[in-house]
Symmetry: none
Subunit: 404 residues, 2 copies
């Protein structure tokens, strides 16, 4: 039985690029380590979710971990909250939230509190407290944007918004959409009231009112979503897992699955992220974990930026960083792939399949010579992301026999 | 419309083997017939059940015949019974059983009757009889092990064990686990009593008692399982089918599906099995059957034994034996594959895909040059085992039009 490392180069897949002489960034890059692994291992295509589906990072990472997003991706609330760095547990409910301005009669006069940029993290922290056995946690996003996570017994996402969605209307009372939401609606209305009192008195708002700016004196909630009750990774696969990622969304998904989160400040999720540290932490984590999911985000950033040469240089930095994993084939199975394609030419995600590379000692090596989207046609693998874990378990001699 | 022959080389798939200069046994073998068929036909990968699933021969053969094991594989009872050579029909119930020893008060003193090896087939035969319209059939396995199959109206597997699972306890009365099991429990308790009387009086036990050995004076039942109510093969595909296999488990699955079973003593399921006879019987069966499933078991045996050179020689014997099928491309579609991989290096089943070869005259030949796990990457086929029959129907011009 071997341990398993899955390296996701976010948005790795691309298309031929005129700036790169008609090559994809992966093809164009100097990637001796990945090519060595391709020669010794297997390559091919992975279809995120299924053929042609243009996934987000959230749905794709869920699927790669073996959770079918079609049943567990329960709306954006919990995943937006994860994206802002909140750790969401199965059964929690989450909301997208706005800092907004209300007048004395409760009418919303500015849904964005003047696009406030001032100390919102501090406001969020003040709005994070316990009430009647329920735990409320707020995280601030860009400008007025925020998210709220509620933990506690018997929560339901069958509740309406407090956000009236337009100015000049009163903040709405949150209502249960069916019986299951009654207790949740009640506690949320009390939370909103208490939060308003805290915000009204906060010195950020005292100052804003004094200088004629819209105070952030209420938090408006919308889009209730319940975090899915998913089977913990350790139960599902009999492996203790860890997750190493620069961006909060991926760490949030890892946490939801029950993976241990390993994070250091130099893992930034951007061009300056320190991939050597990530790989060093991966090797370190393998001492007491059976599985490590590592995400390198900047390939996706370069795709969204429409910068093929930047994507090439991120790939080259990654190739150099993975060196320590190359000689661990007796102990680990290493898979390298993307969660989706983000072609520089379109600056957005696409449903193109992603190249996939798998290596471990003794693997049935195919005739792959290089690791890229074009050579992958000659590789042996064609797999949907939801089947990847089972395939890796098998290659790692961890698959349980089905039948006799 | 052509007839179809599916040759399953059990456990065929393998991994690179250091003893074979880094080749798989199939790659290493002299296999001119299979390579000729590969050049004229199609090759590729079949995923038993789905990608990375490490199947048993039972689940995989069900899937290859188009029965989804996830819905029809109803626990081990019926399949253990088939493995001991009992023919199980849809609706029958089956038990794993032990010959055991009880004292006069009904307390189990030895759950294995001294690991009896003496004339157990004869005891099993004595315990095979009809009672109140129900037919009981027992087969003996290794030492004290046995299986019981019960046929008759309205049987249910919702019944408890008679086996107390430890010595020093009384034989348990079989109880219904819900209403459906009431009649079944009643008849099984009466069977147990009658069986005990027969065993007590049997001369094997008279002799064992006289020589101080534990008599096999009771049969303990456990793990009731109902044989799945599957659609007969002939209804499902409009083809009359036959099954030729050396091991009882595969014949049992074929019988369950309604295939005619063809068996001769020289089909042993081991290294000495006579593949020429199997192929001769296949050609013979094609006179009055539309479909023949043939299983060669010894490739799997060599994998479990960790003997790559033996696996090579089994493959070479198979390659020679299939000669008579090579010129039948106008009348038949021939598929050659495995039911799973049994790599010699791990001596167990694995979830690696298996190579698949399909030939018939006029087939859309791909660029395959050889038949093996590595060249299969260049082949055109990637298919899950559950889709194989439909694909073969299509290649054989037997597929019904879906739509207009």
């Amino acid at each position: 039985m071997k341990k398993i490392v899955v390296l996701i180069m976010d948005g790795l897949g691309d298309r031929p690029n005129s700036e790169l002489m008609g090559l994809t960034p992966l093809q164009y890059s100097f990637r001796p380590n990945m090519n060595t692994l391709a020669r010794k291992g297997q390559t091919g295509f992975m279809f995120p979710v299924s053929e042609g589906v243009c996934t987000g990072s959230d749905t794709s990472h869920l699927s790669i971990l073996g959770y079918d997003p079609r049943s567990v991706y329960t709306g954006r609330g919990p995943f937006e909250a994860m994206g802002l760095g909140l750790l969401v547990n199965p059964g929690d409910i989450a909301f997208r939230a706005n800092f907004a301005t209300v007048d004395a009669s409760g009418v919303v006069t500015d849904r964005r509190a003047g696009r406030i940029r001032e100390r919102t993290a501090e406001l969020a922290s003040e709005l994070s407290f316990e009430l009647d056995g329920y735990k409320f946690t707020v995280a601030a996003g860009v400008e007025h944007r925020a998210a709220l996570v509620v933990s506690g017994p018997d929560l339901s996402d069958r509740v309406s918004d407090s956000d009236p969605h337009e100015v000049g209307r009163k903040v709405k009372e949150i209502k249960a959409l069916d019986e299951s939401g009654e207790r949740t609606a009640e506690i949320l209305n009390r939370y909103t009231e208490r939060a308003r009192a805290i915000l009204e008195a906060h010195d950020v708002n005292v100052r804003r009112r004094a200088s004629g700016e819209s105070p952030a004196n209420i938090i408006l909630l919308r889009g209730a979503g319940k975090a899915p009750e998913i089977e913990p990774f350790a139960n599902k696969y009999g492996m203790k897992g860890a997750c190493i990622a620069g961006i909060p969304l991926i760490r949030g998904i890892g946490h939801l699955a029950g993976l241990d989160i390993i994070h250091k400040s130099e893992m930034t999720g951007s061009y300056n992220s320190d991939y050597r540290t990530k790989i060093r932490e991966t090797v370190h984590a393998l001492r007491d974990h059976d599985f490590v999911l590592v995400n390198f985000k900047a390939t996706d950033v370069a795709g969204h930026d429409g910068e093929p040469f930047k994507k090439v240089s991120v790939i080259e930095k990654a190739d150099e960083a993975i060196s320590p994993l190359l000689d661990l084939g007796e102990e680990i199975t290493l898979a390298i792939t993307g969660d989706h394609s983000t072609p520089c030419a379109i600056r957005e995600h696409s449903g193109d399949p992603v190249p996939l590379l798998i290596y471990t000692d003794g693997i049935r090596a195919d005739q792959s010579e290089k690791f890229d989207e074009i050579q992958a046609s000659h590789g042996s693998i064609r797999i949907r992301s939801g089947d990847l874990m089972q395939y890796l378990l098998s290659v790692s001699d961890r698959a349980e026999k089905y039948g006799a």
